[in-house]
Symmetry: C2
Subunit: 213 residues, 2 copies
DNA sequence: TTTTATTCGATACTATGATATCGATATTGA
DNA sequence: TCAATATCGATATCATAGTATCGAATAAAA
């Protein structure tokens, strides 16, 4: 039996949504082929990076012609599991939570948010962007019944671990963590941290470097 | 004259907000010293990474004791320009825009959002989280008068370039771009892309790997 | 006072990711 | 039909980031 542990580098994976967006745009523009050069130009990358990334998902280009757009899209979707959407719930329908609920673009990347949970009586029972908002007391039961895979965590930091524990015991497999807290979860549960301050820090330093060059 | 181009690695810079948060927590817990080991444990890092990162901002620990918390905080804030806040404006007060306006945490990382701009008459003239919302027609003038440095771009993708152009001509030095579009700007303007789909892609792949190991 | 344990920094090493080079191939146009 | 050119993939190289090892320093304990 061959090695099953497939190791694709992380930066490549993180670029896939970019490629997918651009390829769909290119397709809707009526182009059937596209060169790595063109993609690189449009996405601010190097052509060689594009070619290597596309090779990872199993598609090769033809000399002088480039890549077939439609197969490329399908290969990426397949590779990333984007066309078999995963059900998710969101906990914490505050500002950020609502922004995430309202962003319809995630479906294209395989994420299907089916409901939100909150502790605020004002929003419980309402729907936000077509998603029902339930009280926390119903969390476990609803997640189990609907076999929810992913939890989006957008509560205030002080409740982060508490809610994460609930997510784990409700059988969720992954947590998309928008709080700036480390979560203690069993090793089989995947946590994806999201911290806007990181990008801000990067911007800040780049700006101050600009000044002195 | 010595080399002025200071190269600090990006991952280090992106970790600074984490350190700052944790050091402040540690300080408010009354601790005066903290070991790299402790920080690493709390932040899911390796101790050696913590030590090297702190060395970058110019603070060294003492054997057997660790790092002095207060000087460490000050060193990071100094290094990152966090205590001389930069004025910013936000364009596009939709769901995401409002979430960003409502997040008070950015001030600690040197970002001071002073106003928002939008084209929607329903929000123009109101205040959102204490920030006034102005019409786009006033953008250039207000930015110039107040010497705004950073623009936060959270409009629908189709308007991204157009607004970016306005930002450039209003003299902004950096753009924090939350749209999934590449922006064409002159080289002296810094663009920081923020794409939530990247994190989602990473989560998605990690999850699917979990299944088969 | 001496020993022990902890934590540090410096150096060296490893892994990962990006880039440069180059020959091969297919389409276009002469 | 044949030459020119754009584009590809493979291989090798380089840059960046993370990790391991080890001696030195300091505080606490004996």
């Amino acid at each position: 039996m061959p090695e099953k542990k497939r190791l694709t580098k992380l930066p490549t994976i993180r670029r896939m949504p970019m490629y997918l967006r651009m390829l769909n745009k290119v397709l809707s523009d009526g182009m059937q082929h596209v060169s790595s050069n063109y993609l690189a130009e449009e996405l601010d990358l190097e052509a060689i990076v594009v070619r290597k990334d596309l090779a990872v998902v199993g598609i090769l280009g033809k000399p002088r012609v480039g890549f077939e757009v439609k197969p490329a899209i399908e290969a990426i979707e397949q590779f990333m599991n984007f066309n078999s959407p995963t059900d998710a719930v969101l906990v914490g329908a505050g500002h950020l939570g609502q922004a995430l609920l309202g962003y319809s673009g995630f479906v294209k990347f395989g994420l299907n948010i089916v409901a939100a949970f909150d502790s605020n009586p004002d929003v419980i029972g309402t729907t936000l962007y077509d998603k029902p908002v339930y009280p926390m007391s119903e969390f476990t039961q609803r997640c189990e019944v609907n076999n929810i895979q992913i939890g989006i965590l957008s509560v205030p930091g002080k409740y982060a671990q508490e809610v994460a524990d609930m997510m784990v015991s409700a059988g969720l497999k992954g947590i998309w963590n928008f709080t700036p807290r480390k979560l203690n979860v069993p090793p089989e549960v995947v946590v994806q941290r999201e911290d806007l301050a990181e990008g801000l820090a990067e911007l800040s330093v780049k700006l101050s470097r600009m000044g002195q060059e």
